[in-house]
Amino acid sequence: MGEDMSARTPDGQLWRSDTLRCLIVLFSSPVQHREAENVLEKAASLSVKGHTVTIFLLGDGVYSASMPLSLPGASDVVAGFAGLAGVNITGCSTCAAMRGVSTVIKNARMGGLEDLVEEIETADAVFNYTAEE
């Protein structure tokens, strides 16, 4: 017996009529680990599918919003974050201050942990990219 294909989109993806609020927590540096690149791809993919996506940058994750790192010749991953449309990017201001990240890409803002808690509260799904040291 074949499965009911009406539950899938024409390209074979599972169909969801509803959209989710997705929170992605990124904890590692974009110039040292692959997690930031994975976050970039996941965020773009979720956003294209119509989901609401927020990326919260914590710890070394704040480097992904660093304006200097987004410039040509610096980090392609951070440049990717700077070009990420339709995704909310918020960084931990304390983490940024401790790391000297003072200028951030235009589509990001700095916030506090209370913003993270608020995002957790409203998120339907939380993705943790916090494993790498």
Partner: protein, 110 residues
């Protein structure tokens, strides 16, 4: 809201505990419930015996927050630090209980 914070890393070699604790305190301060779970290498914090040590002092501060409960994953504890003293008030939690907790809460992993 209930939030489960999993600490998977040892206390002295990474910043994971710092951020896990900061987030837990903020979550509790905003009137949410936090289950702070030591799991995998996170249980190594229990080996820190020295008074005034970073990990030990961090956990002590968490003791003062009513809406934060510290739990220790039993499998990790038995496997990695079976001789470590379990501080009073720190309940062991089995994998099936932890699974139920994670399903019914928002989960952060550090």
């Amino acid at each position: 809201m209930r939030v489960t914070v999993l600490l998977t890393r040892p206390p002295l070699s990474t910043a994971h505990i710092t951020e896990a604790v900061r987030v837990s305190f903020m979550t509790a301060a905003l009137n949410h419930e936090v289950d702070f779970v030591l799991i995998d290498d996170g249980v190594f914090i229990l080996l820190e015996q020295r008074e005034g040590g970073f990990g030990r002092e961090t956990l002590k501060r968490m003791d003062g927050a009513d809406s934060i409960r510290v739990r220790v994953h039993e499998g990790s504890f038995r496997r990695l630090v079976p001789e470590a003293p379990l501080p009073a008030g720190y309940a062991l939690i089995k994998s099936d209980e932890l699974s139920s907790m994670m399903i019914s809460s928002k989960v952060l992993v550090f």
